[in-house]
Symmetry: C2
Subunit: 347 residues, 2 copies
């Protein structure tokens, strides 16, 4: 490591693939009981007593991240978190990840080291083992593909399709902030292009920027639900936006819903930044995405268990299918809930 | 589908992400008993009685494939096969895959349909379920990431580290052909650039080109070994080249080896094409890669069970570590075995 610090621009293509993998993963150790064989063979060997859950996601430079304001360590951390979030959304735990990285020759070994520091930190914080992956060159930019694996709870996986009429719609944390964090970062990038000497004062945006650059998956909520003895009837994580995710639950469960605009939990910083940007905070919360909060439905009988909890907010309830999916506005009028999304055409 | 045939250039970005996933995966159905929940929730739910094996690989346009001679259907097929090969190399079966695709706006819906036709054909031929994945846009080109999952055999996974002194080194099929198939395709591409009207006569290269464009994973060998009641002491699939893979086995098993040049199984077409290209066929077989044959070590006591089998060839034997890893040439002289690889710097 001392040699590397002397020369901080080691070309990746000067290193063999296997040396590179060994270098990047040498500080990772497997801690999960279910990890039988980790990195270093044709495949990892995992043991699950019962059902396993598996999910995979791809992050593409220029589409999902911009390295001009996303530090590589944060990117590594986020690439793990967004996948774990999908497992927690099944009510599952997370125990292993496989990480594949394609990087152009613009990236040095030191850059990949930073990325893997973030991956390692996420693995440690969430208690998951890195058990495999692939490292390859790319023609342009960086592409990251992560697969995450866990075990379902004894009560079974929580799917999108279990919501029943009269169930309460509940969301963890607050939403919309990650998207506005991105808007601030994009604005500062434009300012920087015009005047590179300008030192941005981002202090009043700290929370929303952190929500964008270093999101956390709500492992704690799964633990909390277990402690409260609440099994959601359906659950999904909010990656594309509250509207889009709620519509997924309603479609898969064949139900309708009323979502109350005035119940959507917003951070005060989000509200003030939306005012600054002259954007409607409800629209941002509904369509922003990347919150990685959990959206769930719970039976009315479980309401007393959750009502005092600051991490969970009731934002509406499930109706029969014929009622449709509605957003109830502050003046009590009702409009059809649409999944517009930002940046991509959803349906 | 009739509508799509009328307009054969549907822009991907005119379709929402979820519509696209639904469209591409609508003809896939889950058949494996271990698939509890397939595509359509936050994660797939799988059931394994015992250990699961998991592997992942990334294929990058311009690095791993060139669409000027690789038809998309073949690419889809190959992207599945190369991952299944890693599972068979553990002696495991293969039961599920997750496929993530990033594609630039140069690709139409019809192009992705072709790719998925190949993926579907591979899933059918190998009896695996598509249970998840991701579809996203890319800034440039196409990137494919596949994760494959299976169950280990009751006798346990066959690792790289089990080779013992005096074990026989055995390889399935023949090797080197996939690499020379690529050389022929690359040559024809250059000819085409100079004279696009030239119709290449590829008939005498059929076998080696097929080995490159439509490789198969040796699921049949796993079945054969089971029928012959042979449990290899170590196994690996040949993706990077025979030398490199044999060195992996020796390093992980802490042994040496003698590999006999004159025993390496070569197809007659490979030999004649190597002559045409003035390349040494042994060098190609050792370093070519992409054969997806299985390289294994077996105990001497199992030799009678395999000796008459045309699918398996004994190419050498395992020695103690101090003997080193050697290639025994046709004149009985011996040189150190090196993993040079082609195109990438291995170590």
């Amino acid at each position: 490591m001392i040699e590397q610090k002397k020369s901080s621009h080691t070309k990746i293509d000067s290193i063999g693939e296997f040396t590179l993998i060994n270098h990047l993963t040498k500080n990772f150790s497997s801690k999960q009981k279910s990890t039988i064989v980790g990195i270093g063979d044709d495949a990892a060997v995992l043991n699950f007593n019962g059902n396993a859950v598996v999910t995979t996601d791809m992050l593409i430079e220029g589409v999902h991240f911009d390295l001009s304001y996303m530090p590589l360590k944060h990117l590594g951390y986020k690439s793990i978190v967004v996948n774990l979030s999908d497992l927690y959304a099944m009510g599952a735990n997370a125990s292993q990840v496989l990480v594949s990285i394609a990087a152009s020759n613009r990236f040095t070994l030191e850059a990949l080291d930073e990325l893997y520091q973030g991956i390692k930190l996420a693995c440690e914080n969430y208690g998951v083992d890195l058990v495999g992956g692939d490292t390859t060159s790319s023609v342009k930019g960086m592409q990251i593909s992560v697969t995450a694996i866990g075990a379902t709870p004894k009560s079974g996986p929580i799917l999108r399709k279990g919501a029943k009429e009269n169930d309460l719609i509940v969301v963890s944390g607050d939403i919309g902030s990650a998207f506005m964090g991105l808007k601030v970062l994009e604005r500062e990038k434009e300012v920087f292009k015009v005047n590179p000497k300008n030192q941005p004062d981002l202090e009043k945006y700290t929370y929303i920027i952190e929500r964008q650059l270093k999101p956390e998956a709500r492992k704690d909520i799964i633990k909390l639900l277990s402690e409260l003895n609440v099994v959601p009837t359906s659950m999904i994580d909010i990656s594309d936006g509250l509207s889009s995710e709620l519509l997924h639950i309603c479609k898969n469960s064949e139900v309708g819903c009323d979502l109350y605009e005035n119940k959507i939990p917003l951070d005060p910083q989000l509200i003030s930044v939306c005012e600054e940007f002259k954007l409607d905070s409800t629209t941002i919360a509904l369509n922003g995405g990347e919150d990685y909060e959990l959206l769930m439905t719970i039976s009315q009988k479980d309401f007393p268990k959750i009502k005092a909890n600051p991490s969970l907010t009731v934002i509406g309830y499930i109706k029969d299918k014929n009622s449709g999916c509605n957003l109830v506005l502050r003046d009590n009028s009702s409009v059809a809930l649409k999944a517009r999304g930002w940046g991509s055409k959803e349906d």
